[in-house]
């Protein structure tokens, strides 16, 4: 792994240099050296899972193997990477014999599941009954379950498995992946212990027959000869911590064949450029303080490259780059036509947010674009301007504490929507509301509370409650990664429909949620992106989804811009030039308002550093 005195010939290693001194070496990735038939890529959003998985798939196919690359991300960008529309069945990639793509779209899988259940009753049951069935089968938990069902179906299908030598899963952001993959155990247990047929299996009912399929999935994942879990991380501490956490959860599930890929390792030999030096120092510190659990995991590295990784040619170029120490020649370095300082910064944003005196401010965007830091910076600035501010996170990894440091400024309240705690709280509430119960009744209720829907409901109620607090104050929400955020909003809608016809005692915050989210004076949604193609495409999709729900985002924040950092390092300048087209597109085509935030040499942590982000 990290070796200061390399035991292997240096030319086979990637060297990390600081002030022209070699301090660490890493083994470069062997793109085609993968043996197991199943590969699962996981990691924090934005670390480049799709890029790495796609390049591995491409190289294996070029070796003459038959490879299926599958995305289970609700916001999959496989299509963008390969520039072809991948369907829900194996779609061949033109020009790459043997490589096939497939998108498991959870929404589409849920729709197909609904079709299967409802279609036989057209003309048999009245339209109003069909409609109420459809409504019941439209919730977030049906989506989750349907996607999982597709996923296990694929692994259990001998026709698919025998057709391909490798099946590679470019999975969704970590939380989603873990849920998806840890479900077989939870559900096997759930189905076994459920003795009442008509109980809260919800959309799971009727899937019991596939119990064996779930069990087979668990065995496949745990079999080191068949499955490799590839933990993908950037050389940054939060991404490494996430990888360590994910690795630990897989080990706990008996899935031990793991491999760490460090993506975007900056290896340039640098002179005096402060930004490049800072980037190297930050990277080194992250690697040196890497969680203990990861050190035992075999590790390889992928170099940071200057170009966008879209299209087969770009992936091929990445797979041929062993070590990039000088910029590739095809991008012009001198381009003074774009003045980054012409775009407003966070100081302007805070003034605009302040204008209405209260309300909900929500960050949305692909994982890894810096939503947590931005939320903390905005909250601290508003608190300093004399407002009462609640800063809240639904991020399971809870990086908020890290961003704020030890001291919390006056006027600022920090909270977290913790799914486990919310589920406990909701369960207790339900049991209390049920009144006195005999032992058997209690057991029945508790069993229903173990269903997969309970957490979704509990988190949603907490979300609604947090939004309610913005009545008088500011609430700043650093939302969970994309897929989950969408599910939350989707839940907001389906619950809103449910609320209208339910007989239960619906909490006030739940009833008022959707109208609040649609009120531009009350809710301001900030789409956060980096000046790179994938995060911009992702934010564009989120914007379209929001508009479908009749919610108009307040504007776009382009974060961590090298253009605005003032770097002189050739590789970084080249990357900065690559940002221009994306920044212009956001400014001219996508955003009603936009703000540009520079890349910071050190991650802003603590009150003073966060305040500095929002001052001129």
């Amino acid at each position: 792994m990290l070796l200061s005195g390399a035991r292997v010939p240096l030319k086979e290693k990637m060297a990390i240099m600081l002030r022209d001194t070699r301090i660490a070496t890493l083994t470069p990735i062997d793109w085609s050296g993968w043996q197991t038939p199943f590969l699962f890529f996981t990691g924090k959003g934005g670390v480049g899972k799709t890029t790495v998985a796609s390049t591995v798939a491409l190289r294996l196919a070029e070796l003459g193997r038959r490879v299926l690359l599958v995305s289970t991300d609700p916001a999959s960008n496989l299509d963008d990477v390969f520039k072809i529309p991948a369907g829900s069945t194996a779609t061949p990639v033109p020009d790459v014999p043997g490589l096939f793509l497939m998108n498991i779209d959870p929404e589409a899988a849920a729709a197909a599941y609904r079709e299967r259940v409802i279609t036989p009753y057209y003309g048999v049951l009245p339209a109003s009954s069909l409609q109420s069935m459809e409504e019941q089968l439209s919730g977030a938990c049906t989506v989750e379950i349907a996607a999982f069902n597709e996923f296990t179906g694929l692994l259990a299908d001998p026709l698919v498995v025998s057709r391909f030598e490798h099946i590679i899963f470019d999975t969704a952001p970590t939380g989603h992946t873990l849920r998806l993959l840890s479900l077989p155990k939870a559900w096997s247990g759930f189905i076994e212990t459920n003795s009442h047929g008509a109980s809260c299996l919800g959309p799971l009912a009727g899937l019991e027959a596939q119990h064996e399929q779930y069990a087979a999935t668990v065995r496949t994942l745990g079999d080191a000869a068949r499955t490799t879990i590839v933990l993908v991380s950037r050389p940054e501490s939060s991404a490494l911590q996430e990888a360590a956490r994910a690795g630990g959860e897989f080990r706990a599930l008996g899935i031990t064949n793991q491999q760490l890929v460090l993506n975007g390792v900056f290896t340039a030999s640098v002179g005096e450029d402060a930004i490049a030096q800072a980037m190297l120092a930050r990277q080194l510190e992250a690697l040196q303080t890497m969680p203990e659990a990861l050190r035992a995991t075999p590790t390889v590295a992928v170099p940071l490259v200057a170009h966008d990784l879209i299209g087969v040619a770009a992936l091929r170029r990445l797979s041929q780059t062993a070590e990039q120490t000088s910029p590739a020649g095809d991008i012009s370095v001198a381009n003074d036509s774009f003045d980054a300082s012409s775009l407003p910064g966070l100081d302007t944003l805070v003034r605009q947010l302040e204008a209405d005196g209260q309300g909900v401010i929500m960050m949305m965007g692909k994982g890894g674009v810096g939503k947590t830091t931005l939320a903390a910076a905005i909250a601290v600035a508003l608190a300093h301007a004399g407002h009462r501010v609640h800063l809240s996170t639904t991020d399971p990894a809870a990086h908020l504490g890290q961003a704020l440091g030890a001291a919390i400024p006056a006027g600022l309240q920090v909270g977290r929507i913790d799914p486990a705690a919310e589920t406990r709280r909701y369960s207790e509430e339900v049991l209390a509301a049920a009144g006195p119960l005999d032992e058997e009744e209690r057991a029945l209720l508790e069993e229903d509370l173990r269903s997969p829907c309970t957490e979704e409901i509990a988190v949603f109620r907490a979300f609604a409650r947090t939004v309610q607090e913005a009545e008088r104050d500011f609430v700043v929400l650093d939302t969970a990664p994309t897929g989950h955020t969408l599910l939350l909003l989707d839940a907001a809608q389906s619950y809103h429909r449910e609320v209208e016809r339910t007989m239960g005692d619906v909490p006030e915050p739940v009833r008022r949620l959707l109208p609040r989210l649609r009120d531009p004076r009350f809710t301001k949604i900030l789409l956060v992106t980096l000046a790179e193609s994938t995060p911009v495409q992702e934010a564009e999709r989120l914007q379209a989804d929001l508009r479908r729900a009749a919610i108009e985002p307040f504007g776009w924040v382009i974060n961590a811009s090298l253009l605005k950092s003032g770097t002189n390092n050739p590789t970084l300048v080249q990357r900065a030039q690559g940002e221009v087209a994306h920044v212009l597109r956001v400014k001219q085509k996508l955003a009603a308002r936009n703000w540009l935030v520079p890349w910071y040499a050190s991650i802003p942590t603590g009150e003073q550093a966060l305040l500095a982000m929002t001052s001129r």
């Binding site: 259940v117 409802i118 036989p120 009753y121 048999v124 049951l125 009245p126 339209a127 109003s128 009954s129 409609q131 109420s132 069935m133 409504e135 019941q136 089968l137 919730g139 938990c141 008509a198 109980s199 809260c200 299996l201 919800g202 959309p203 009912a205 009727g206 339900v430 509301a433 049920a434 009144g435 119960l437 058997e440 009744e441 029945l444 209720l445 229903d448 509370l449 269903s451 829907c453 309970t454 409901i457 949603f460 109620r461 619950y495 449910e498 609320v499 339910t502 007989m503 239960g504 005692d505 619906v506 909490p507 739940v510």
Partner: protein, 132 residues
Amino acid sequence: MLPMYTAKTATISVYDPAMCCSTGLCGPSVDPQLLQVARDLRRFEAEGIIVERFNLAQQPGSYAQNLKVAGLLQAFGDKALPVTLINGDIFVYGRYPSRDEVAAALAQRREQEPVAAQNADGGCDCGSGGCC
């Protein structure tokens, strides 16, 4: 025609509206009435009565196959649900019966059993729930 059942083999069949689960836990809040219904049905079950429960979202086939339930759905749409049958006869629809209503109907059936075939009111021997 002689009734084929005795009090010991009485059957209560509840056809619920489409819902996630029979306790109503999966809605935005718990419906206390659904909890009560689940509790009542368990008590009848403990007394030796056969209880069947169906969920439109999960077992639509049972609704289509039962001619009485299907007929109510055709006539009144989704408003017909929930439907409660006692021994296959419509007892209450459009709402859940109370525990007392069901208990009274079961008691009445036990008394009237020998003369059920001669019932004068057109064969609808339902209880105080008022189905007909």
